[in-house]
């Protein structure tokens, strides 16, 4: 299956605004992060990241579906 990963702020400056990732059926958010890390495109230590799947906050163990939009987000700093 294929998902879209989107980036903001400093991650957007480093990786662009989005990329498409092909990943096995049943994969989780954590699997996608590992896949990006293996490709050298993403932080290995993702402890401070937050994840949103289709605009909802999710934990790393959440399973992905085809065409999902996964946002990988650094700590927020609005206000």
């Amino acid at each position: 299956m294929r998902i879209k990963v989107i980036f903001f702020a400093e991650l957007k400056e480093m990786f662009g605004s989005s990329c498409l990732v092909d990943i096995r059926e049943g994969a989780t958010i954590q699997d996608a992060v590992h896949l990006l890390a293996q490709s050298g495109r993403f932080p290995l230590n993702a402890a401070s990241l937050r994840y949103a799947l289709n605009e909802n906050f999710e934990t790393p163990d959440k399973k992905l579906s085809n065409n999902d939009e996964l946002a990988l987000m650094t700590p927020m700093s609005g206000g």
């Binding site: 702020a9 401070s48 609005g78």
Partner: protein, 143 residues
């Protein structure tokens, strides 16, 4: 609401509240010219806009369920902001003042932590930095 246009504070605060409101508590977050001893020249806000709108709505719903408030108005600006410009404005109307103050405080604290908006400080020496990523010690490490 998220906007890339300047926030018109006069219009924002002069809109009448529901007649049931006896109190309105308001907050404005502005761009200041310094941070951690560095001279700040301007700010740039990036935003996951569609999600930010949804999270703002969730926060307003949470405030309504927690306090007896009648009206909640929130606007957050994104894009390039100069010193002194309003970045966020909140106004909460309620029958009595305690609920309005508490809900307003709750909203700004939650907005800073949970709405997908990020600010970048541009310093007078020409450097810039995304807030909360490096200096606050919550940095992401990169391979």
């Amino acid at each position: 609401m998220i906007t890339d246009q300047p926030i018109d504070l006069v219009e924002f605060f002069s809109r009448p509240f529901d007649p049931s409101c006896g109190a309105a508590a308001s907050f404005v977050g502005m761009v200041r010219n310094h941070d951690h001893g560095c001279r700040v020249k301007s700010l740039h806000y990036d935003c996951y806009r569609s999600m930010a709108e949804k999270v703002l709505q969730v926060l307003a719903d949470q405030a309504r369920s927690q306090w007896a408030v009648d009206e909640i108005r929130i606007v957050h600006r994104v894009g390039h902001l100069e010193i002194g410009e309003a970045a966020v404005a909140i106004s909460v109307g309620s029958a009595h003042r305690a609920e309005a103050f508490e809900a307003c405080r709750f909203l700004i604290e939650q907005i800073k932590k949970t709405v997908p908006i990020w600010k970048k400080e541009v310093f007078e020496d020409g450097t810039s930095e995304w807030v909360s990523c490096m200096r606050s010690g919550t940095s992401v490490s990169w391979r």
